[in-house]
């Protein structure tokens, strides 16, 4: 197999916290030993509930945070601890699409200025070339006719248009990889699919790899080839999309799949089985498997004693659960 575009190994990101000035030091372990790979032109999804560390994972991979431990290899190069100057290359090769488009756009800059800035920072001195690339990016995200948009400010655009602009900004340097962090959760149902289809379209057009971070399992089915399920800073299961949806192994994945409704009038007569409780805090996670206090398949003396390791249950299908050895 050819080497993947991105290879992340045992990545950890801890944030130090301290209570009071002389208080005890503690860590929020937001990402705790995550490994994943992303091939060229592949789309993967990281699925998890709020607070599970999925956003931190994305930002650490983009090196917006300094990793605590582990390795990030991008195009064969170890970028885990690269310095600020050397990172400029990596910044060009990667892009971020934020969750809240309006918050991610500077309110006092026009569309043109917003898209021009990264080009200036990355040393494209020729004005003509900059303009060409801005036009190309706007065309790519279908903000057309371009003349209607180029001099507008973010607040003059609708939510969907703002998110297109954020996407245009993320691809303007022609990166190889994009991290899309809940790119559609703030948008209305009818435009969500439009934005996701756009990302898919860009993926083939620009040979992009996409890491799609979401809490919504039902969209992943259409827009990614592989799903990673994250719970309390760990990846608890990963498999190809179809395999994961048809044959979920981890009790957490099963619970998630079980509660997500499809529009069906018979839903109103069913009371669903739902694990009680809340995800643990990441300062003091439970010992053993982190899902054990909520797990319907809890085995005393095993699940609460030792942390299960991620094993390959069937080809390409990994699970971190004692039920499978």
């Amino acid at each position: 197999m050819s080497s993947p575009l991105l290879h992340v190994e045992n990545l950890k990101e801890y944030f130090e916290i301290r209570r009071g000035l002389f208080g005890k030091r503690g860590y929020v372990k937001a990402v705790d030993g995550v490994s994943l790979t992303l091939a060229g032109r592949e789309a993967i999804s990281i699925v998890g509930e709020s607070g599970c560390g999925k956003t931190t994972l994305g930002k650490t991979i983009l090196r917006l945070y300094e990793p605590t431990d582990g390795k990030i290899i991008f195009r064969g190069k170890d970028i885990t601890h690269l310095g600020w100057k050397e990172l400029k290359w990596y910044r060009r090769e990667t892009g971020l699409v934020q969750q809240d488009p309006f918050g991610a756009l500077p309110p006092f800059m026009t569309v043109k200025r917003i898209l021009e800035e990264p080009l200036i920072i990355h040393g494209i001195k020729d004005r003509k070339e900059r303009e060409e690339r801005i036009y190309k990016a706007l065309e790519g995200v279908k903000l057309t006719p371009i003349e209607d948009f180029i001099n507008k400010y973010p607040h003059m655009l609708s939510g969907g248009q703002q998110q297109r602009l954020v996407i245009a900004r993320s691809i303007i340097l022609e990166p190889k990889m994009i991290v899309a962090d809940e790119p559609v959760s703030m948008l209305d149902a009818s435009v969500r699919i439009e934005i996701l289809k756009l990302l898919q379209d860009l993926q083939t057009r620009y040979d992009l790899s996409v890491m799609y971070i979401t809490h919504d399992l039902s969209t992943t089915r259409y827009f990614s080839e592989r799903i990673y399920i994250m719970y309390a800073a760990h990846i608890v299961e990963s498999a190809e999309t179809k395999e994961l949806l048809v044959n979920p192994l981890h009790p957490y994945t099963r619970a998630l799949l079980n509660v997500i409704p499809d529009p069906d009038p018979s839903n109103r007569f069913l009371i669903k089985e739902v694990p009680t409780g809340e995800p643990p805090n990441l300062i003091n996670p439970p010992t053993g498997c982190r899902f054990n206090p909520r797990c319907p398949n809890f085995m005393k003396g095993i699940c609460d004693a030792k942390e299960p390791s991620l094993i390959e249950a069937s080809k390409g299908h990994y699970v971190k659960c004692w039920l499978y050895g």
Partner: protein, 320 residues
């Protein structure tokens, strides 16, 4: 037709802003039998929350037009003066859970003291009696009664939402209006809350107006469905028909855009964006995004009645 529990006729609510009059609720009609739930579905800014506020008469201060009829057990609520309405209807017979209510709990007042406020105010109960009722209701929604003496920050999001639901149950209402009750919660917590609402519906036979933007989620509670677009209800249907066979082109496109986990389908989307409520188009408000547009659509379509009081507001369903 038998007397309906809740019957809304031509409800209108406009409010005035600097840029003009916002037609937030524009001629809305539907009815609901006792003990059933109507889901009001629509995208942000379509007037769902304004509709809820118009029913419980929590109007913005700059309201300019407010008319129509809200018949509740045969009584037109619009005829009541403010004092009677406050005393007999709002927070007693009809309760309202506003959007993101879980974040509006007062952070420096104990849960118990916040919960009993409507009982002290509206039902003139003694404090001891009220606390007892609050404890019972908390237990019913699955929160330990010990939390009566805790502050909101000590509760998780799901538990706060349960407290809010308990608050709206305290006065034994006949109708609950729930505005996006799970929109800020996680998937599993959301499922827990939906189970709770189903149990309330089943055991207490309370009617509900369930407002949501999430079509899949709406099917968890809805017996009837009203689809809102640009201030108007464009389709009113029963759940069995709606989720399988929506009629209005907007409902159809909306349904197409819902990703499903279990069945394969081709996803669609609606290009363009909804019209501004400041100056909506004279004709059908969905016309310029509609795939079936034809000559008649430049005129405002009337409500086209189908069977059993259900309707679609679309020229396609005009009877010859």
């Amino acid at each position: 037709m038998s007397e309906r529990h809740l019957n809304i006729k031509s409800l209108v609510m406009y409010y005035r802003t600097l840029r003009g009059e916002v037609k937030a609720v524009d001629d809305v009609s539907f009815s609901l039998p006792k003990g059933e739930t109507i889901a009001v579905i629509g995208e942000s800014g379509c007037g769902k929350s304004s509709l809820a506020k118009s029913i419980i008469r929590l109007l913005p201060r700059n309201v300019s037009v407010y008319k129509g009829a809200v018949l509740f057990n045969g009584l037109n609520l619009m005829d009541l003066d403010e004092e009677t309405f406050t005393k007999e209807i709002r927070w007693t017979k009809i309760t309202y859970v506003p959007q993101a209510a879980l974040n509006s709990l007062n952070p420096i007042i104990k849960i118990g003291d916040q919960m009993i406020e409507p009982l002290l105010l509206h039902q003139k109960m003694s404090k001891g009696e009220a606390l007892e009722r609050a404890a019972k209701t908390l237990k019913a929604v699955g929160v330990n009664e010990a939390f009566l003496h805790h502050y909101p920050f000590e509760l998780s999001g799901g538990m706060k939402q349960r407290v809010i639901i308990a608050m709206s149950l305290l006065t034994n209402p006949e109708l609950m209006i729930l505005d996006e009750p799970t929109s800020s919660l996680d998937v599993l917590t959301q499922a827990n809350i939906m189970n709770l609402l189903k149990n309330i519906k089943r055991e207490l036979k309370i009617s509900m107006i369930f407002i949501t933007h999430d079509v899949s989620l709406s099917s968890e509670l809805a017996d009837k469905v009203a689809v809102m677009y640009a201030g108007q209800v464009v389709e009113f249907s029963d759940a069995e028909t709606f989720y399988k066979n929506p009629l209005h082109p907007y409902s159809q496109k909306l349904m197409e855009s819902v990703p499903t986990l279990r069945t394969d389908k081709k996803l669609g989307f609606i290009s363009g964006s909804p019209p501004s409520l400041l100056d909506p188009p004279k004709g059908c408000r969905f016309a310029d995004r509609c795939p079936f547009i034809f000559e008649k659509c430049i005129k405002d379509p009337p409500i086209m009645h189908l069977n059993e009081g259900f309707y679609a507001k679309c020229w396609l369903y005009e009877k010859e």
